[in-house]
């Protein structure tokens, strides 16, 4: 968040209406996302209470776990639904020709996209994945394999969600906050109902602020999960759970209680379900940023790789990353964040405006062009290095020598030669350092026109994945060679009654 967002927050609070924080949508949206709401049972770790999911806004599927006893059958149904969705993404593939040192290969034309209400649901699915992928597969029980596979996919998806710019598993509140600024605090923005009320108030509401206030009414507000609220626990769930336990203890039929529980949870989840689709429609209407397509292509590559891995090896990821794996993950996340930021700046004027207020960019008008400027290269041959001057009124926090990128000429590179403060503005002399071709084969396209308004951002560092030692060469001080199999800390404990 920048001072610009702080300013917009104040404007939004002042007027009562949310403001756009982006002119484009920066994440790919699937035509058929899998919407998924998850509720956990208060208390035991990762014990599901209910899941509502589906690709059709009018026909959600509701799965409810019994208050006590095994959840395997509910999880198996969930596994079937999720796996069916993921399998559908593997129906078609495309041929990718060999490039550089990568051989030709096939890639699926689609990849799964799961939309959940908030980051807490992502966290819940991660913990659930940690539990399920180590469950033992019992050949007598076909459900057990499906459940383990679900665990694998949940781990894959929640890992992807850690990478900025990935669109495999997206928390809706973060997705919306990336594109709008509201007049309430970030903590309040974590609540899907009030966030959406600010952004897309119902017609009768006078303002987003009024709508949010109304959406908060405890009588109608339903938290989007995964935790249930205390009032719901105490007033509704606890009595039903007691009734269930009593029926169980007395050997009576529990079906009625379960039906009642299902009705209760359906009513509890439905408002959020509708909000999710409302948010989806809203986001779909935003024009998609150019780089988002590239990132989705990459998403499909990663997904295809995962399918191959599952088919060929399929051992679950260890419970905790070993040193090398953890370092690789961290490097990927950092790279993902830097690449996403740079691509957003290239695509979106709003992102550039934000960088201008933080001093990571400046904008100005081209005042003079020296298109003939040459330098003497190391071999003595002249090199064509056109220069031009930009007049800016932004507060400049850069030094000569700074390398820059420009949204209008994505292949070109720039360097600051000189900074001359004048009365009302600052003159920045820039040299084109890349993308202009050679003196004998010049690419005149990179020359800006005098009078043009351009924004220059700090060029992202060229990225190279650092080299890591091979797995078996990890020093023991870092935890030693990784165990390929999961730890056995869960033996026989997974299905304990709670």
């Amino acid at each position: 968040m920048s001072l610009l967002t702080s300013l917009l927050k104040m404007r939004a609070a002042d007027t009562g209406n949310a403001l756009r924080a982006s002119q484009l949508r920066h994440l790919h949206l699937s035509d058929q996302p899998l919407m998924l709401l998850a509720m956990t049972r208060t208390g035991p770790a990762a014990r599901p209470l209910a899941v509502m999911l589906g690709t059709d806004p009018h026909r959600p599927q509701l799965l409810v776990a019994p208050p006590s006893g095994s959840t395997t059958s509910m999880l198996a149904t969930l596994a079937d639904a999720v796996t069916a969705y993921i399998d559908a993404c593997q129906r078609h593939s495309e041929h990718l020709p060999a490039i550089n040192n990568k051989p030709a290969r096939r890639r699926y034309t689609d990849a799964p996209q799961i939309l959940v209400p908030n980051p807490q649901t992502v966290q819940h699915l991660k913990v659930l994945g940690d539990d399920l992928r180590f469950r033992r597969v019992d050949d007598q029980n076909p459900d057990s394999r499906a459940v383990q596979r679900l665990g694998h996919w949940l781990t894959y998806l929640t890992d992807r969600a850690d990478i900025p710019g990935s669109a495999a598993l997206i928390p809706m509140t973060s997705f919306l906050s990336m594109h709008w600024v509201t007049g309430q605090s970030p903590q309040e923005d974590e609540d899907l109902a009030t966030l959406l009320a600010w952004i897309d108030p119902p017609r009768h509401a006078a303002s987003g602020r009024d709508a949010a206030y109304e959406a908060e009414d405890p009588a109608t507000h339903r938290p989007a999960g995964p935790a249930t609220d205390a009032a719901f626990d105490n007033d509704h769930l606890a009595p039903l759970f007691d009734a269930y336990a009593r029926a169980r203890a007395q050997g009576q039929d529990q079906a009625r209680t379960l039906e009642e529980l299902e009705r209760l949870l359906a009513a509890y989840l439905h408002p959020t379900w509708d909000l999710m689709w409302q948010a989806y429609t809203l986001l779909q209407a935003l024009p998609e940023a150019k780089s988002s397509t590239r990132r989705w292509d990459h998403e499909r590559t990663v997904f295809t790789d995962e399918c191959v891995y599952l088919a060929q090896d399929g051992r679950p990821r260890p419970a905790r990353d070993q040193a090398v794996a953890a370092a690789v993950r961290l490097a990927r996340m950092e790279h993902g964040a830097a690449a996403f930021a740079a691509e957003r700046a290239a695509d979106d004027p709003f992102a550039r405006a934000e960088l201008r207020t933080t001093g990571e960019a400046f904008g100005g008008t081209v005042t003079a062009i020296d298109s003939k400027h040459t330098l003497r290269g190391p071999t003595g041959r002249p090199q064509w290095r056109p220069r031009f001057t930009v007049s800016t009124t932004d507060l400049l926090r850069m030094e000569p020598g700074q390398l820059l990128a420009c949204h209008a000429y994505r292949k070109a590179g720039y360097k600051i030669c000189e900074i001359t403060p004048a009365d009302d503005d600052t003159l920045v002399e820039l040299e084109i350092t890349a993308g202009m071709g050679h003196a004998d084969r010049p690419n005149y396209d990179v020359l800006p026109e005098a009078g043009a308004f351009l924004v220059f951002t700090i060029a992202p560092d060229p990225y190279r994945m650092p080299e890591f030692p091979a797995r078996d060469q990890t020093p023991w001080t870092h935890g030693g060679p990784p165990a390929d199999h999961p730890d056995h800390s869960n033996e026989g404990e997974g299905e304990e009654e709670q």
Binding site: S185, P186, Q187, A230, A353, E496
Partner: protein
């Protein structure tokens, strides 16, 4: 009764004071600069009752399911005279602790109903002191349901840690049983921090007890043991944590409570938050009057208040009505350090207000942000 007590009593009114617990003490560290909260807590005023009377949502309501689950786990850990605990503590403290004597302070006095706090405190005290003074090699003790005293703003608050463990090196350890899980060796850092802050209150109380008997604070370890369910089961696991930071911060915040007389001096005379319960126990205090009384005690609202204070929704409304930047989050508040309200910030941005000397830089930055945004809106940029 000290005059401070009397003054706090006036603020509280007719209701009996709510005793402090480790939880309320831990909450003190969450927003220590809020005078409203410091005074209300020091006076032992029931914030939940205030909130209920003001018709506010109750963000801190406890889930019965969570309580039941926590209790079931605690019973499991302390079952069979603490048998499951001994091997866990042995491992967590790297001790040779072949057996330990387990004493449940709950069961002193009569067998049936729970003994009074005072009685349990007396027993706790005598057992701890006798353990501390005996030859170190002789006694290894697990004390279940002990009761300690801590001086809070000149008052004795009763605290009830889960377990106190004493071992041969002559050192006491606070052991807390918490029902949030440790999954593959990791737990939610926020929950751990909250648990350690509570444990810090017990450490301080235990040190106070020993100090009265001339024993040094090092006899109570900075290392606190949390016992949690392991992975996806109800099997307990014990993890040692350094609680040094939490102990330091809590004792600093307790020290701050000495400012109470100063805070009270600032209130108009006879200010009270009394709910004036009628014969049926229902509050009769007019809401507007109560809100006005609250308004005389300065608050320091942040959106995080809803996680630790019953008055969060009241203070939020107040902060919003006063158009405070803090209502938009700590990020906005810190960005605009020195400018308290949205109105001032926007007036400075739009040039309708002349910046004071210390507002020049932020005003310039705001105006630049505004200019860039305007360029964006008109499509220049």
């Amino acid at each position: 009764m000290s005059s401070l007590d009397a003054r706090l009593g006036v603020l509280r009114g007719t209701a009996p004071p709510i005793p402090h617990s480790a939880r309320t003490l831990a909450a003190l560290t969450a927003n220590p600069t809020c005078d409203r909260r410091s005074l209300i807590d020091a006076a032992g005023i029931d914030k939940a009752a205030l909130a209920a009377h003001l018709n506010l949502p109750q963000p801190l309501r406890k889930s019965q399911l969570a309580l039941d689950y926590g209790l079931a786990f605690e019973h499991k850990v302390t079952a069979q005279a603490g048998a499951p605990l001994v091997p866990l503590l042995r491992q967590a403290l790297a001790l040779t602790l072949p057996e330990a004597s387990y004493q449940d302070v709950n069961s002193v006095g009569s067998d049936d109903d729970k003994s009074s706090l005072q009685l349990r405190h007396a027993h706790t005290r005598s057992r701890i002191l006798s353990a501390a003074h005996r030859r170190p090699s002789q006694h290894r003790t697990l004390l279940d349901h002990p009761v300690l005293h801590l001086t809070v703003a000149g008052h004795q608050a009763y605290l009830e840690p889960d377990i106190i463990a004493f071992h041969r090196d002559g050192v006491f350890h606070v052991v807390e049983i918490k029902s949030f899980p440790v999954i593959h060796g990791q737990s939610d850092p926020l929950k751990v921090d909250a648990a350690l802050t509570q444990a810090a209150a017990y450490v301080l109380a235990l040190r106070e007890l020993l100090a009265d008997d001339g024993l040094p604070p090092e006899r109570v370890s900075d290392t606190v043991i949390l016992v949690n369910p392991r992975n996806f089961t109800q099997h307990p696991t014990a993890t040692p944590y350094k609680a040094y930071q939490q102990i330091k911060s809590l004792s600093r915040h307790l020290g701050r409570l000495r400012r109470l007389p100063e805070l009270l001096d600032k209130l108009p005379p006879h200010t009270t938050l009394d709910l004036a319960p009628g014969p049926d126990g229902k509050p009769t205090r007019p809401r507007g009057e109560l809100a006005a009384a609250l308004a005389t005690v300065p608050a320091r609202y942040t959106p995080g208040c809803r996680h630790h204070c019953d008055l969060a929704f009241h203070c939020r409304t107040e902060a919003r009505n006063q158009r405070r930047t803090a209502a938009l989050g700590t990020k906005v508040r810190d960005d605009l350090a020195g400018i308290d309200t949205i109105d001032t910030a926007l007036a400075l941005t739009d040039g309708q207000l002349h910046p004071a000397r210390d507002q020049k830089d932020i005003t310039q930055a705001l105006q630049q942000a505004q200019r860039i945004y305007a360029e964006l809106q008109t499509g220049i940029a």
